[in-house]
Amino acid sequence: MYGYNGKILRVNLTDGSWKTEELDLEMAKKFIGGRGLGTKMMMDEVDPKVDPLSPENKLFVVTGPMTGNPVATGGRYMVVTKSPLSNTIASSNSGGKWGAELKFSGWDIIAFEGKSEEPVYLSIDDDKVELLSAADLWGTTVSNTTKKLEEKHADGCKVLAIGPGGENLSHIAAIMNDEDRAAGRSGVGAVMGSKNLKAIVVKGSGKPDVPDQDRIKELNKKQLAKIKENGVTGEGLPTYGTAVLVNILNELGSLPTNNFQEAHFDKAEEISGETLADKYLIKRTACYRCPIGCGRYVKSGDWEGGGPEYETLWSFGSDCGISDMDSIIMANYWCNEMGIDTISAGATIAAAIELYQKGYIKDEELDGLKLEFGNGTDIAEWVKRMGYGQGLGAKMAQGSYRLADGYGVPEFSMTVKKLEMPAYDPRGIMGIGLNYATSNRGGCHVRGYTISPEVLGLPEQLDRFDTKAKPTWVKIFQDLTAAIDSLGVCLFTSFALGADDYAEMYNVIAGTDFTGNDILAIGDRIYNIEKQFNLLAGVTPAEDTLPKRLLNDPIPEGPSEGWVNKLDEMLGEYYKERGWGEDGIPTEAKLKELGL
């Protein structure tokens, strides 16, 4: 079957051995790859009740059938494991060039088991696989690790690594690749750190076989035209990156501010995409085979490098009441160096500021640093302390829920299933609240990005305050996203492409015969197996909710003044849409229908 190499690299870190396994291609067709296939392997091989940071947890690095293939944005990979932050299934997606290189090396999946006694890294040069000592890399930043490994290994090798955050088991640690691309969410970096695995260097000399060059050329011509003609992927994202959303969400009065106490930030312009483009942007950057190029390469003072995304401008910006762009750029840089998720890091600082303001965190815990809404002076230093696990930073490194819970007030943590919510206040945008509440990894926007219809008007405009149609939309978006995340392409293509386009992509590359509805049905299957994993892990539907602040405290001022999220009007309908019982649990009939 095309689209896959047909090979799994299974690495036992406990005894240092590795072996090749054949990929079950029939299984691959049922779950596509990436997020879907990784979750299926977790379900088959790991007890969902496993301690996420124990050797018994496994870590799967999974490409999709599009990864490394000649299709637009075909360079994504997924990290699938059990999350130490949320205790749910974790699947974190990343772009850059690393995923495609793994595919070129002849492997589809790396399955890590056990725990190494000493720090190691994995080197892959096609079929030559070695576990090597990482003693001289342990404790170093992501960029230093990357540079050292690039110097040591073959020309053009690509490096994936954790930073001190993952080594020190920060529950919000990311896995980084190509220095500043992140499989960011759910604390996957801590799982890698718990296994004493510092990095994966990969070099591949092959290219996946493709069945029909002419059909691929035709497909690319058609899909690239759609991406170019679409206002968002053809102009908005290339020109301003994701950061352009700052002003939009602020104008709607749904830009979470000061730890979600407010939803409008007077100084939003100073942290906007427009300001980033006018004053800081040097050039845009792109992942493997990406025609969009939403990445920002920026200059701040004497420093230059990868710039902040929308989520980061929000988390360290308005969520902390901070309008100092230079401080945010540096906080973003240190998140990349420490290997820490920028959403969770910024949101945890925001929660810490509120905890300090309300007297829970005491002066003596600050070690002379500032922890104030509106003061960006020390946010980069807080990130470093999270990464190195120093002082109050060590508590913050476990995420806002454990931080706030440690002071007896978990309600100050703006999380769902202990994962920090992103930059859209669900009190002013109903459907995204339902998506947060029902996302299988917790508070996440990219499990079902209903911001598209609710805010951007794509593919059609919905009333953001209305609840009626939202359960249907959330389910469709969640299912389609699960399939896209499994194919190995970027979710941003979905601004321009629909389920039929993804089916065509899969068919042309892999020789399958799927329709758009088939793709959605596979997404449904993936969503349900994730849910099954969570239920078996002990994460019950009682956690399908939002923080009380968002259900009870109306937005105090601005265009969304007076609104709370009306989750109770949507949740039951959503369960019905999913074919689940009123208790939020998939029925036997539904699981049978999906072949689970």
Partner: protein
């Protein structure tokens, strides 16, 4: 005459003009306003009045804030 404010974003900002206070005739629609300020309706993907999605036929009221965005997105 009524007083309104127009806010421009992203590629709709010309010569770095972020916003302007305007006086327009009563009974002016947003559509008419766009003609007066030289913005093509087809270039506007998100049209907000006081933060709420509004059709171009909407008749402006004193104190309204009109926000104009081209097609943009992110995540």
């Amino acid at each position: 005459m009524i007083k309104i404010e127009v806010r421009y974003f992203a590629t709709l900002r010309i010569d770095d003009k972020k916003k302007e206070a305007l006086e327009v005739q009563e009974d002016t629609s947003v559509d008419t306003l766009l003609g007066q300020i030289g913005v093509n309706l087809e270039d506007v993907a998100i049209l907000l009045v006081n933060g709420i999605r509004t059709p171009p036929e909407y008749i402006l009221k004193d104190g309204d804030v009109v926000s104009l965005f081209p097609p943009v997105g992110g995540g």
